[in-house]
Structures are given as structure tokens and as C-alpha cells.
Amino acid sequence: MSQNRREFLKTIAAIGASTAAISSVTPKKTIAKTEPFLSEDRKGVLVDTTVCIGCRKCEWACKGAHGFEQGDFENYQNDEILNVQRRPSTNNLTVVNKYIDEGTRTVKMQCMHCEHPACVSACIVGAISKKENGSVVWDTDMCIGCRYCMVACPFQIPAFEYYKALDPKIVKCDFCIERTSEGKLPACVNICPVEALTYGTRNELIDEAKRRIKNHPDKYFDHVFGEYEVGGTSWLYLADKNLAGNVFPKLGNNTAPGVSESIQHGIFAYFVPPIAVYALLGGIMWLTKEKETKKENK
């Protein structure tokens, strides 16, 4: 019996050593995981909250594009709902909320499609992925409903089908990936009557946002929300006031998965810490075993 355990430990050590050898020659991928895949032309949306009129047509169009029950679009004109702070839900992937703070502004909210998504990092089955065009999408079949992404998301966007008893999944904005792959605009961008939403490459949108701020310094708060927040987001926001700490949480410019990944990956870096732990344990066992055999022999 003791012999077997020893053999087992030996095998583990051998595997560990070989893995360490392999991992030391393979390039290390940690925080910048998504970067090599992101296209220079990756898309984004510039949300100009100063022109948004809060008509909620984006909500209506979004539901239609994703096959949800839309309801009568005339009912969307009831702006009393704007007074309630809503979050994106499983059948409403985007919501428009009203914020009153030295003036009123309506702000559309949906998945920000982070440049370095925390949800991708947190997903234990690798169901969520950042696509080359900038969108963060997920594979429903792979999703096991662990809800780690909900915890990880700095904007608290992913919604969960709590009402389903069997096989509930995560749902969020998919940047209308089906529509965009057909060359169409995202449904919300397409319907917006005032073009508060501008679709384009992220780089050109940042330039455009800065041009607007420069041309109308009295109209805009001098900050493009999403340019640097949590390492940058595909959706960028312009407003007359600082949105951070009011509409959005105050977030640093470090990537959201940066901290967690550095800890997680650090534990297993080159497989050295696990081997060291096993070696230590093995050593202790070896020493204690030697003593025990000596005792037995006596």
C-alpha cells in the first residue's frame, strides 16, 4: 500500500517536471490574452448622451433583433419607466435610464464589450470569447450557468435565467453579431432617430469623440468614458457630466481581469509553485516515513 503511494507521488513529480519543462519553453499568455487577436478595425459604438432623447426605440429594436417579445412600440413612449433604475435583463439586453444630477440625461446601457473582458477571464469553461471585431460573445451550449461572469463583470451586465428550472444560461448584449456579420448595423444603432449611437471602428470613434469635445467644450465633459476604463471598452460614452461614479461605477484604468489573472496565473507560473508545494509535502512524508520505518525496525 505504502509502496503504491510512493509510486503515485513519483509519477506526479515526473508529470510536474515535464509540464514545467514544456511551459518554460512555451510563450506565456496572461493579461494581454485577447490583444493579439483584436483587429485594428475592431468596431465600437460612440454613445452621445447629450443628443439622446430617451425614446427607448433602441430597446424595442434590440428585442426584435433577438427574437424577444417586443410588445407595442407605442407603449415605449411612456417615459415614467425612465424614473426607475433598470438593469439589462434576460429579455431586455439594453435599457435606457434617466439620471438627474444638475440637469437630466438619459443613458443607454448594455454590455460594454471590454477590450480585456473580465467575463472571458472568469468563465471556467471558456464559453465567453472576445471576437476579432471587438464583440464579446458566448457559446450557449458551453455555458454551465456558474454565473462567475456576473460576479466578474465590472459593469454588472450579464443576466441569468433564474426563472428556468432546467439548464439556465447567461444572457447579455451580443453586439448584434449576427447582423454585423451580414454587414448590417446593430439594431439599436440602426433605429436611433437622433443618431445618439454611432457605429464605427473604435479608433475613429475615439477621434470623433475628441473632435466633438474640442468643438463644443461647453457642451461636453472633457472625457471619453470607455477609452481607458478597465483597459478600454468597445462602447464609448460622451456626456455633459462625468459619468463615472454616477451612471457607471468609478473604475480604474487597469484591466478588470488583470489583478485576478495575475494571482491565478502566478500560483501556477511555470508550474514551479505547485511542484514546490508537492516537493515540500513529499519531503515531509519521506522524512516522517524514514523515522517510522526506523521505529518499526527497532
Binding site: 460612440l46 443628443v51 432623447i53 430617451g54 425614446c55 412600440f73 407605442e74 413612449q77 417615459d79 448595423l185 444603432v189 440602426n190 436611433c192 432617430p193 437622433v194 443618431e195 454611432t198 457605429y199 464605427g200 475613429e204 470613434l205 470623433e208 473632435r211
Partner: protein, 369 residues
């Protein structure tokens, strides 16, 4: 046959393009404009006009009266049957009349080079998915233009207040009214402001003096008005950050506090009381600027007739009174005929002439008025 046809087409196209260029050049040169105001390059062509990027608010030359524009317009350039809403009937004349109190035509026609009225679609593309993201597409341009005022005015975003519903197949709910609906604005005579300035709390503003006596246009002061300024529940005017703002365009509000701030209600402007020069007799028809040539500077003119009415050799130009003096009389001093330089009294002739010659039976020259 086909070649001939193509040739004639090309020829026609060439003619029309060059003719268009000549026409444009003609109107441009007539207007004596600075080319660089609109064009970046030295030699703009029809094919490459190298225009500067959207010169919003920099090129506004719409000078029309509301009556000269169209009465009503149907905005259907971007409408399709798939749309939720139908086209909009826009009461153009009504809106242009309302605009007179704020920025005039150029609030909406914010870019218009000299010449014809430029259509919105001239700059704003119809496609949303486009290369140039610097200006909104046509649909957004229309909506933003309307919503800018309608939102501040009503705080409502109901689409049906302008659009009809395509699904219900009903006619537009907007009734087009041809005549002016806004009642005539009553011009106030005198407005008294109570201020918290210790040395003189009362500011009397004579609105009629400014609007009629000083020949100011409404829009000289009311250039930033909107419907909401008068019709909102809280008048925006009363919460203006600096109440001096409106006065300081003409008056020096930094230094001359006591010119407006008095301890009691001031009297209306009277040129005689204020300056000692009575303008009521001969100068009542003139606007201020006809005498006070330096803008906003109303001092420095002496009450001598010669200051304004002089001949080339520096003497009083008597013709201005309606009587051109003859060669003999033009040599005299004023007081030879006008005793004690009192020009309101009848001039005397019997210093030189017999009693049978007197004014106005006899005239020392010829009457020209």
C-alpha cells in the same frame, strides 16, 4: 450609331459641367468673397471643390423673410413603407416666424453658402452606415433639429406629435395652419428692476426708448430667445447668471453703475434734458447713429450747427435749412440776420434793408425745399 450617341452624351455632360462652373463662378465673384473661407486649395474645381470640413455656424447667409420661404413642407426624403412612422408635415412658415425671436433662419439653416438655400441632404448623407462620422446622417439631422427645441419646450418625445403612424394608416395628426398663430407680442413701455445694489437699488429700463427711439431691432437684444424663455413654468430669463449680460453689449456695466442704478424710478430719455441740445424741432426724424457716428459712443458732439452742417470751407451750410443763400448773403455772419444767434426767432432784414423787405416775403437767396 451607338458611338455617336455616347459622344453626344459626353459632350452634353461636359457642357453642363462647365456651364455650371461658369454660373457658380459668376455668382461667387459678384459677391466679392474670400475663396479661402470655403476652399482649402488654390484652384477648386467642380469635381474637387476641396471644401473645408463642415463649417457649421460659420457660414450663414440666409437672409429671407418668413413669407419668402415655403408655407408647408412634407419631409419624406427618408421615408419608406417599412418605417413605423409616416412622413412629417412641417409648417415651415410658422416655424420661421417663431425663429425670428431667436437665431432666425440660421438656427436650422446653419450652413448656407451665398446663393440658394441648401437642402439638408446636401451635407447630411441618407445612409447611417457611412464613412464620414463627423456630421449626423439625414434622419438624425432632422430629428436633432426638431428635438432641440421641442425637448426644451415640452420635454416630450412623443413621435406622434409630428409623425403619423404607418400601421394605423391615419392622416397626420398635425393640423397645418396657414396664418400666424402667435398673438402679437406686446412691447413693454417701462420695466423696473429691483436690485440688491445698495447705492441705487432701482434700475428703470425704458423698453420703448430702446425699441423705437434708439432704432434697435428686436433681434439686437433678443437673439437668444426660445419659446421656453416665455412659456416655460419657470422663466429661464429670471435665472440668468448675470443680469448685466444683456445691457453690457452696449453699455459699460463694469464702471458706470450709477448710470442705471438710481435710488428712484428714472425718467425716460430726453435729449434736451440730458445734453442740453433740443432735437425735437429739427432732428426728431434722425436715428442716433446718423449724428453719433462712432458706435456706442454718444458724447463729444458740440451743439454747434457747423459740427455737422458745414461747407467745404468750414462755414455753416445754410442750404440745409431749405434756403440757399445768394452770393451777397453768404458772406455775412450768422448774427447779422439772426439776432443773438437765436435761430428760433424770425431773422431781421432791416439792419441793411428798408422796412418793406422782410422775411419770409423776401428771401435772401432761393428756397430749395
Amino acid at each position: 450609331m451607338r458611338i455617336q450617341y455616347i459622344f453626344s452624351l459626353i459632350f452634353f455632360a461636359f457642357i453642363s459641367v462647365s456651364y455650371g462652373q461658369i454660373e457658380n463662378l459668376k455668382t461667387h465673384t459678384q459677391m466679392n468673397l474670400d475663396c479661402k473661407k470655403c476652399h482649402i486649395c488654390d484652384t477648386p474645381t467642380k469635381a474637387n471643390p476641396c471644401l473645408i470640413l463642415c463649417p457649421r455656424n460659420k457660414l450663414k447667409v440666409v437672409r429671407h423673410l418668413p413669407e419668402e420661404g415655403p408655407e408647408n413642407l412634407t419631409i419624406d426624403k427618408i421615408s419608406s413603407d417599412e418605417d413605423l412612422y409616416g412622413p412629417v408635415n412641417f409648417t415651415h412658415k410658422l416655424h420661421s416666424e417663431m425663429s425670428l425671436m431667436s437665431g432666425g433662419c440660421s438656427i436650422c439653416h446653419h450652413f448656407n453658402p451665398p446663393g440658394k438655400i441648401v437642402k439638408c441632404s446636401h451635407c447630411h448623407e441618407t445612409a447611417r452606415d457611412r464613412k464620414d462620422k463627423t456630421k449626423p446622417d439625414l434622419k438624425a439631422a432632422f430629428h436633432r433639429q426638431c428635438m432641440d427645441c421641442h425637448k426644451s419646450w415640452e420635454e416630450k418625445t412623443e413621435c406622434e406629435s409630428c409623425h403619423s403612424l404607418n400601421s394605423k394608416k391615419i392622416e397626420s395628426t398635425v393640423k397645418i395652419k396657414a396664418e400666424k398663430v402667435h398673438p402679437e407680442v406686446k412691447i413693454p413701455q417701462r420695466v423696473i428692476y429691483e436690485t440688491d445694489y445698495d447705492e441705487g437699488s432701482v434700475v428703470t429700463y425704458f423698453h420703448n426708448d430702446h425699441s423705437s427711439l434708439f432704432n434697435l431691432e428686436c433681434s439686437d437684444c433678443h437673439d437668444q430667445e426660445s419659446c421656453a424663455n416665455c412659456h416655460a413654468e419657470i422663466r429661464l430669463e429670471s435665472i440668468k447668471a448675470d443680469p448685466h449680460e444683456r445691457c453690457s453689449t452696449c453699455h459699460d456695466t463694469e464702471n458706470n453703475c450709477n448710470k442705471c442704478h438710481k435710488s428712484e424710478i428714472a425718467r425716460p430719455f430726453d435729449h434736451k434734458i440730458k445734453t442740453g441740445f433740443d432735437i425735437a424741432t429739427y432732428h426728431s426724424d434722425l436715428s442716433c447713429a446718423e449724428c453719433h457716428k462712432t458706435q456706442n459712443k454718444f458724447s463729444g458732439l458740440k451743439p454747434d450747427c457747423v459740427v455737422c452742417h458745414s461747407t467745404s470751407d468750414g462755414y455753416f451750410n445754410h442750404s440745409i435749412t431749405g434756403i440757399k443763400l445768394d452770393e451777397t448773403h453768404v458772406e455775412f455772419y450768422c448774427e447779422n440776420c439772426h439776432q443773438d444767434k437765436d435761430y428760433s426767432r424770425k431773422p431781421i432784414c432791416n439792419e441793411c434793408h428798408d422796412d418793406d423787405i422782410s422775411f419770409p416775403t423776401s428771401i435772401p437767396g432761393e428756397r430749395i425745399k
